[in-house]
């Protein structure tokens, strides 16, 4: 039995993760507007509740103003107001919801995984590998993080867990060389999917971003269309700095989608609402735990309703 089953399924866990905040949300709004008119004070409290979920001041205030337009001065119930807000949020998130599509004509379909330090890249690769294997694909992993201590060993363990070959080079090797060797090997073995791990890098470090661009340049020597996906792994605990992360990785590494990790924690990940509005980068999946089956498709409705403390 998997870890997630033991704990009652991801959704329950996601919800229970949001439980505290949900209770806070509902109590907060309930106190103010149950059997009452929606007034300035109530609106400002709702705005603040959105801010505490990391939506950011601007988005929180815009969403609140929208809500006011249609309902200001009206008698509204707690449930109604939360549902309306969840609907608005869902409308923002729906367009960026997109599963990760594996194109069969690429062999391998190369997925480059990038992000700042400790976001959950390597773990996400393990989870993706597990899912692809379950879907019947042949998968190879490449240990492109040759910098961080024991990063290669970490990926090797994920390889063992998921039954995937892991391409490695000694620590300190140029990651571009690892990428090259991995594509070569994956091509030779006609592997369906190659997942390439990279070292964590802060987006404001020009040399590290250049290193990433070199990885892409070198892999294109073997396959001009590679990478077929470049996933930015984003930690849900991140605050407004996520804007800069997405902005820079989008510009310098042409990311094609996001995976949002650690949504099983107390952080509510509201930043993705702001990111969706501003960048429109697709969200492919979310991470809700540390084990291999803790990867879930992103469901905007569930996410929005959870954010507002409503049952999915």
């Amino acid at each position: 039995m998997s870890e997630s089953d033991q704990r009652g399924g991801w959704l329950k866990r996601l919800r229970s993760g949001l439980q505290k905040s949900a209770t806070r949300l509902s109590t907060g709004i309930g106190d103010i507007i149950t059997k009452r008119k929606l007034d300035e004070q109530a609106l400002s409290d709702i705005e603040e509740l959105l801010i505490t979920a990391d939506l950011g001041v601007e988005v929180a205030s815009r969403l609140t103003r929208n809500l006011a337009k249609s309902r200001f001065g009206k008698e509204v119930s707690d449930e109604e107001i939360r549902t309306a807000m969840a609907d608005d949020i869902e409308r923002i998130l729906a367009p960026v919801t997109a599963p990760l599509i594996i194109e069969p004509d690429h062999r391998p379909h190369v997925i480059l995984v990038v992000g700042v330090n400790g976001a959950g890249k390597t773990t996400t690769i393990g989870k993706l590998a597990s899912r692809f294997r379950q879907q019947g694909y042949s998968v190879m992993l490449a240990a492109g993080d040759t910098f961080r201590a024991a990063a290669i060993e970490q990926l090797q363990i994920w390889g063992e867990r998921t039954g995937c070959t892991v391409i490695t080079r000694p620590a300190g090797t140029d990651p571009a060389a690892v990428a090259y060797a991995a594509i070569e090997q994956a091509k030779a073995a006609a592997t369906d999917i190659l997942l390439l791990d990279t070292a964590g890098r802060l987006h404001n470090k020009a040399n590290l971003m250049a290193e990433l661009q070199k990885i892409v340049r070198v892999m294109r020597k073997l396959d001009e269309s590679a990478p077929h996906n470049c996933l930015l792994v984003l930690d849900a605990t991140t605050g407004q700095n996520a804007h800069a992360q997405v902005d820079t990785f989008r510009e310098l590494a042409s990311i094609t989608g996001l995976v949002v990790t650690k949504l099983d924690g107390s952080a509510r990940g509201g930043i993705i609402v702001a990111l969706a509005e501003r960048f429109g980068v697709p969200i492919h999946a979310i991470g809700v735990g540390e084990s291999e089956d803790d990867l879930r498709p992103f469901e905007p409705r569930d996410f929005a309703r959870s954010l507002m403390g409503l049952n999915p």
């Binding site: 802060l202 605990t237 991140t238 605050g239 099983d264 924690g265 107390s266 952080a267 540390e290």
Partner: protein, 458 residues
């Protein structure tokens, strides 16, 4: 990482300073901007609210004072309060206990615990000449123990042998035993990342704490953390009991409001800053430096200059003229005190000047504070005009009356008179040296250059 917060707040204050005299509604506007700036910097909302509320009460009380703009008052108060909230002084890792001193590292997944453990180990060995043992209690994450072992090899700090299948508490006990037997000074315990809402793992961390009885328990937190910083910090503090904070990824460009949030909810000092992936990228936390970075010292300094300019020029010129003639009485002393107060009090003036932390501490040690200025003022107010112009006539009975009127003791009146004499003496000396001006220049850097009235009596 604090750069962007600095520039954001800088904009706010630019607006304030250029507008000159501000109404109370301007204070409100300014604080609205400050609120947005802090929220955009990821300071948690409850912390922001408390911060703003504190400033609002202070600012509204003080806004009536002439010749200091409300904007300057806001700057001074925001700045003071930022420093206050970040913690008044540098806080070092506490090693004051019988060896082996256990230090426990805790935090969310991926926050930088293992890396920070190795950095700290390296620093304790190289800078503090301690014999350090590191142990990984992370039996969950793939290759976590191996990671610490590799790092230990890199920084030449021994790590506890890895025994597969051992529980975190057992590893802790083995580490402490080995440290005692082999004469280690410090044991660094690196733990697995855990969510604050994961009861099972929080209980495990508490069990490890009970086994190790750490002298320091450091929460390792990412500077990029958003609003959740307060929840996480509070939960870790409640469940495990923190003694300090290590803030990582300060080399990023996050605005770093999490520092303020975590500090505010735990009350624990921020002891370490992680400023890179390399193993010597660890710095002590200087609250004043960081607060200054947050505020932008350049702006603040120019504000002080402006504040100095707003000091009533007439008064200053009159005083200068009198000093030229060798005249200095208690009314002059009073007007000096009042000018100081207008500029936001001694503390305000001092904290607005760069590099005055030391002086400020010195002053605090001698209990020279804004309260003193107010008491001295009250004593002078309690005198008749004749007494102020001719202090020599103030004898025992007058002293008693003055003291009663000011709600002070006769000793305090004596102290003031003595300080007045010192001040008078110094003014005379200054005249001889051909210097003029109400406030001696360079008072920030050199305590002895302060007006003697503000010098602690020996």
């Amino acid at each position: 990482m604090f750069e962007s917060l600095t520039s954001r707040l800088g904009e706010v204050f630019d607006g304030l300073t250029r507008r000159g005299a501000l109404s109370e509604s301007d204070i409100k506007t300014a604080l609205r901007d400050v609120r947005v700036a802090l929220l955009e910097a990821d300071v948690a909302l409850p912390v922001v609210k408390e911060f703003i509320a504190g400033i609002e009460t202070q600012a509204t009380g003080q806004a009536v004072i002439k010749s200091v703009t409300p904007g300057q008052m806001v700057v001074k108060i925001v700045h003071d309060r930022l420093i206050e909230m970040l913690g008044a002084e540098v806080s070092e890792i506490n090693l004051n206990a019988a060896p082996p001193v256990p230090i426990l590292m805790v935090g969310l997944q991926g926050s930088g615990k293992t890396t920070t453990t190795a950095k700290l180990g390296k620093q304790l060995v190289e800078k503090h000449r301690r014999k350090v043992l590191m142990a990984s209690l992370d039996v969950r994450r793939p290759a976590a123990q191996e990671q610490l072992r590799v790092l230990g090899d890199q920084v030449l700090v021994p790590t506890l042998d890895i025994v597969v299948g051992e529980s975190p508490v057992k590893i802790t006990e083995r580490a402490m035993r080995k440290a005692r037997q082999e004469g280690y000074d410090v044991v660094l315990l690196d733990t697995a990342g855990r969510l604050s809402i994961d009861d099972e793992l929080m209980a495990e961390a508490a069990a490890v704490r009970d086994a190790a009885k750490p002298v320091e328990t450091l929460l390792v937190a990412d500077a990029m953390t958003g609003q959740d910083a307060v929840n996480t910090a509070r939960a870790f503090h409640e469940r495990i009991g923190l003694t300090g904070i290590a803030l990582t990824r300060v080399d990023g460009d996050a605005r770093g409001g999490a520092a303020l949030s975590i500090r505010a909810v735990t009350g624990c000092p921020i002891k370490l800053l992680g400023v890179g992936e390399n193993l010597d990228a660890l710095e002590p936390f200087h609250p004043e430096r960081i607060a200054s970075r947050i505020l932008g010292m350049g702006d603040v300094v120019s504000l002080v200059e402006k504040a100095a300019e707003t000091v009533n020029r007439d008064d200053a010129e009159k005083l200068a003229a009198r000093l030229q003639k060798g005249q200095f009485d208690l009314e002059d002393m009073l007007s000096q005190l009042q000018q100081l107060k207008k500029m936001g009090g001694l503390g305000g003036v001092m904290s607005l000047l760069p590099g005055v932390a030391k002086v400020k501490k010195q002053l605090a040690a001698h209990s020279v504070d804004d309260g003193l200025i107010k008491r001295q003022e009250a004593i002078i107010f309690s005198m008749t005009r004749g007494e102020r112009l001719r202090p020599a006539i103030i004898k025992a009975s007058r002293k008693k009356r003055i003291a009663t009127g000011a709600g002070a003791s006769v000793q305090e009146v004596n102290k003031l008179l003595k300080q007045f004499q010192q001040m008078q003496g110094m003014m005379k000396r200054m005249r001889k040296m051909g210097r003029k001006g109400a406030l001696p220049p360079g008072m920030a850097g050199d305590l002895s250059a302060l007006p003697p009235g503000l010098m602690p009596p020996r």
